[in-house]
């Protein structure tokens, strides 16, 4: 009699809440990497115990097991992202296999801590191991469910049941109270707020504290310290540098001497250097891009100084600005635009597609999808980091999280969307009715905005893309001055988002559509009711159309007459709608043009990357 086989699903967390608790880019990157490695450890354990892996694809496990992204090791050497859910077929005892995977997950976490613990021993307060170990022991939320396969449609039925069981099981997030209590008065982690800090109170200025960029009043629990000190600090590219990537690379081509002087000045002052030899755009200026923002120089110098009084530090910062920064700003002619895009992407209709594949193709069909997703995540890394001067935080399964400079962001989003469909197509052909697509959200915020807020913007934008019918791009713009602007559009629209924004940017940069007219249209439309009564709807629509035509065609004082029509600005359908729709269309148009204006301003006079270019 054959041994009963089971469908086993494992899930590990927490994910979103843990990743978002980040102050430095290294917290974000390493936190994400850590979870990925925990998933990988579970998958490896399943494979070693003879389980038949489905997600992730077994070949995906063949990447190296050591160290996260290290530029000096070359791009091919870097491990891939693993989703936090693992699926396998187990023949034998599924419970013991699941328990072994749980042990492997915990071991992966503890191994990472052991490295950091050794490296940071001098930073820990006496006795911290007691509560640090408890924090690590209780951190992982591990859940598993398994169901036997029976009959013809055994895999599909069992998988559906196992997924449901797992979701139900996860409704109970068990926890225990803290038992290892630190001394009274111990502060809580600055990232978490609940777990006590493991760091010493009295700190020297400089040394290891400076290397890890731990602030004088910053507190980190074991997980926070693990994020901060894990990996090689030099591999993490600061977010300001990503936001200014296009500006810096243009400077490296057009004004080599001035940029070289700036680099030398940064080296002389021993500023923290980023070591990513694999990324040419990082090497254009391998330091924190904050030094290009005059208002940030003093705080930067205060952080990097080994001591000394504030006046000296201020004088030093001022001298640096005059001698090293200003000459470059002068020759560039355009100031760095200090915004960055947080890109969040997620597959659409994946659940439904996997269900259909399970019933009509079974395990093999799912394997093909796993392989396709692995290929997609590999290409996503190339797209983001090599083609579009961004940094990938995570790409696993159908999820992508990255930071990109605004001028490249929209084209990068479209290329990711195309790559997703291209990789998935062969795996679903002929079986899935509605092919999965990729919705991409771009949250654009100031480079000095907190990472949590930037991530929030990205997630909100991704949600807006889903709400826009999926297979869409959404851009949420949060500038320091002015309210947030959101614009979403389907990739399948007759004039798809990149083309639409390009037309708007061309109108704006040529001066044919002055920004004042956009604001005027917005102010005018706001004076009308959004939810106009049906009896007045058509009249209101008529007035709105006439008013917009008048504003667009009016000659601006001091400008050459160059009227634009409703068609030119993408409002051709305005005259065919009722009052309510016309009102909504105008609000949407204003948001779109203001988004386009930001993108145009961010990329003005710079060398931009285009889709398909290497």
């Amino acid at each position: 009699m054959a041994t009963q086989s089971h469908v086993l699903v494992l899930k590990v967390g927490p994910v979103q809440g843990f990743i978002i608790q980040s102050r430095r880019t290294r917290d974000l990157w390493f936190g994400s990497h850590l979870l990925s490695q925990v998933s990988r450890a579970m998958a490896l354990c399943l494979k070693a115990s003879g389980a038949e892996l489905i997600f992730p694809h077994p070949e995906q496990l063949e990447a190296p097991t050591t160290a996260p992204e290290r530029g000096d090791k070359g791009d091919d050497d870097t491990p891939k992202g693993f989703p936090n859910k693992v699926l396998a077929i187990v023949t034998g005892d599924p419970e013991s296999v699941a328990k072994a995977a749980r042990t492997a997950a915990k071991k992966a976490l503890l191994d990472a801590w052991a490295l950091v613990r050794g490296k940071c021993e001098h930073l820990l307060v006496e006795g911290a191991d007691a509560w640090a170990n408890e924090q690590l022991d209780t951190f992982l939320e591990f859940h598993a469910a398994w169901v036997p396969q029976q009959g013809e449609a055994g895999y599909a039925v069992a998988l559906e049941e196992a997924e449901t069981l797992l979701e139900s099981r996860r409704a109970l997030r068990e926890f225990t109270p803290w038992t290892q209590l630190p001394p009274a008065g111990t502060h809580k982690s600055s990232l978490d707020g609940g777990r006590p800090s493991v760091l010493r109170g009295k700190r020297s200025k400089g040394g290891e504290w400076k290397g890890l960029r731990i602030g004088e009043r910053e507190e980190l629990d074991a997980l926070g310290l693990l994020k901060r000190a894990g990996g090689d600090p030099g591999q993490f590219v600061p977010v300001p540098s990503i936001g200014l990537a296009a500006w810096l690379e243009t400077a490296s081509k057009a004004h080599k001497r001035e940029l070289s002087n700036l680099r030398a000045a940064c080296s002389d002052r021993k500023f923290t250097k980023v070591r990513r030899t694999d990324l040419s755009w990082v090497n254009a200026f391998p330091f924190d891009g904050q030094v290009l923002l005059p208002e940030r120089l003093r705080p930067c110098f205060e952080e990097w100084s080994e001591g000394g009084d504030r006046e000296n530090i201020q004088r030093e910062a001022e001298r640096f600005r005059e001698e090293a920064v200003q000459p470059l700003l002068d020759v560039m002619g355009v100031a760095p635009y200090p915004y960055v895009a947080c890109l969040c992407a997620d597959g659409d209709n994946m659940g439904q597609a996997l269900r259909e594949l399970a019933f009509h193709g079974g395990i093999e069909a799912h394997r093909k999808v796993a392989r396709a997703l692995a290929d997609f995540t590999s290409e996503a890394k190339v797209i983001v980091q090599s083609r579009f001067r961004g940094m990938l935080v995570y790409a696993g399964g159908d999820d992508v999280l990255a930071f990109v400079c605004p001028p490249d962001a929209v084209a990068c989003a479209r290329e990711l969307s195309s790559a997703f469909r291209r990789h998935l197509a062969p795996a679903i052909q002929g079986v899935v009715q509605e092919a999965p697509t990729l919705s991409v959200g771009l949250g654009i915020g100031h480079v000095l905005e907190s990472l949590g807020q930037l991530l929030n913007l990205g997630r909100q934008a991704e949600k807006a893309a889903k709400n826009a019918g999926r297979n869409a791009l959404a851009i949420l713009l949060a500038k320091h001055a002015g309210r947030e602007r959101l614009w979403a559009s389907s990739w399948a629209n007759p004039v798809e988002p990149v083309g639409r924004l390009s037309q708007d940017m061309a109108l704006l940069s040529s001066g044919r559509l002055p920004l004042s007219k956009v604001h005027e249209v917005e102010a005018m439309s706001r004076r009308f009711a959004a939810d106009v009564a049906a009896s007045h709807s058509m009249e209101q629509a008529g007035v709105l159309v006439d008013e917009v035509r008048r504003i667009l065609s009016r000659a601006e004082a001091g400008r050459q007459e160059s009227p634009v029509s409703l068609e030119d600005v993408g409002l051709a359908n305005l005259s065919d709608t009722d009052g309510r729709k016309a009102h909504a269309m105008l609000q949407e148009w204003v948001s779109r043009v203001l988004v386009a204006e930001t993108l145009e301003r961010a990329g003005r006079t710079l060398d931009l990357r285009k889709e398909g270019e290497e």
Binding site: P148, T164, G194, G215, G351, S450
Partner: protein, 406 residues
């Protein structure tokens, strides 16, 4: 024992900082809990009580240590959220708002965003161990709990923080509820600057901000015009027996970060009573929804429950005989890190079961939960922290699925 019942009406928003200092993931930003914790409110009442005592009783002066000792008798016995149209009428039962229960899930419709509220009902496990689960550690009784599941597929929508009295009563009686309005207090961010007195200008790098929960705001229900609504905290409070202050609290109260001004409106204990519409019939199963966070000695597992032949068996307040815990829907722990005002240092973190968690029970002997037992459980206290109104429950009926072959 004197009992003072009143409503706190924060007029300037509330900032109840969590355990992160100012040097957080966002330097110079204070993060606020989305809704004030009972422990914060009790702390403010203890401070107000001390001030009232010293004001009304000549010659009484307390050092911080004395204050801490004597004010320990100030107890919070009821803590409910309230919402009414601005200055509409005195607060009444219909204004109560309850935490969205974990056994309700908002699911999308086949087309479009309009969804429905679905019950998560525990399923009796199939005989044998054909399908099973595993958690982060070893506990066969926990893995033997029944799993609440929904019928629909797809991703559930984000639930609102609160729903209304009418919706909650309906839900507790086991009836269907329409999709609730998205009515929740929102957070805003207040920005602060430090002024350099010598230059009379803002100091560089001293900009800081804090999250504030806005409780007096405009809300729009559907297509209707927006109306001003006020959110408030309904409280019952006991004073120390020997040191009771008449008319407590007097005047406005300082609450939360920066002691923001909070108006006080008197109410009667009826505001916390079991509603007359809640007329449950005797039921084989009982659901307990946490109206306030609960503090259990073993974390998620309720006090008084122990493993017994692969089950969790224990007792409940106001309920006769032992009961069996059948299922538990518990979100992640709520970590509470309060500040010791006397020692001027952080207190140890406590871990609470968040409000909205739901536990399902059957009586061990198979008896029904009587209508009287169900009504008696209305806002009964469960677990520790009674002096902070922790662990107050709302009872709901539940029909356990029949055993196989029954």
């Amino acid at each position: 024992m004197s009992q003072d019942c009143f409503v706190l009406l924060p007029r300037d928003g509330l900032s109840v900082k969590d355990g992160r200092g100012w040097y957080t993931s966002e330097v110079g930003r204070g993060h606020s809990h989305p809704w004030p914790l009972p422990t914060t409110v009790r702390g403010a009442l203890r401070a107000a009580w001390g001030q009232d005592l010293m004001t009304t009783q000549p010659g009484v002066r307390m050092t911080p240590a004395e204050w801490e000792q004597r004010s320990a008798g100030v107890k919070l016995t009821r803590f409910v959220a309230l919402r009414r149209f601005f200055a509409e009428s005195p607060f009444e039962l219909a204004h109560r708002m309850w935490p969205f229960p974990a056994d309700a899930v908002l699911v999308g419709a086949e087309k479009g965003p309009v969804g429905r509220v679905e019950h998560l009902l525990p399923h009796r496990p199939a005989a044998g161990r054909s399908a099973s689960t595993l958690g982060p550690d070893e506990d066969s009784a926990r893995e033997g709990l029944w799993h609440p599941r929904r019928v629909s597929r797809g991703k559930p929508s984000t639930a609102p923080r609160f729903w209304s009295e009418a919706e909650m009563v309906c839900w507790l009686l086991g009836h269907d509820v329409a999709v609730p309005q998205e009515l929740s207090p929102e957070q805003r961010t207040d920005l602060h600057v430090s002024i350099d007195p010598s230059r009379q200008t803002a100091e560089d790098s001293m900009l800081h901000s804090r999250q504030v929960v806005e409780l007096l705001r405009l809300e729009r229900e559907g297509e209707k015009a927006p109306r001003a609504v006020e959110w408030a905290l309904g409280l019952c409070c006991e004073q120390p027996e020997r040191d009771a202050v008449r008319g407590f609290p007097s005047g406005v109260l300082g609450l939360g970060g920066r002691r923001r001004l909070t108006d006080v409106e008197r109410v009667t204990p009826d505001l916390f009573a079991c509603p007359p519409e809640f007329k449950p019939k005797a039921s084989k199963g009982l659901r307990l929804v946490l109206a306030t966070p609960a503090c259990f000695a073993r974390g998620w597992l309720p006090d008084g429950f122990a493993r017994d032949a692969g089950l969790y068996v224990g007792s409940l307040p106001k309920v006769a005989g032992p009961v069996v815990l059948r299922a538990a829907l518990v979100p992640r722990a709520q970590d509470v890190s309060a500040w010791d005002m006397v020692k001027k240092e952080p207190r140890q973190t406590r871990r609470w079961v968040p409000a909205g968690a739901v536990y399902f029970f059957e009586k061990q002997r198979g008896d029904d939960f009587t209508a009287e037992e169900l009504r008696a459980l209305w806002l009964a206290s469960w677990g520790g922290g009674h002096e902070e109104a922790l662990g107050q429950v709302l009872p709901g009926v539940w029909t356990p699925p029949p055993a196989s072959g029954a």
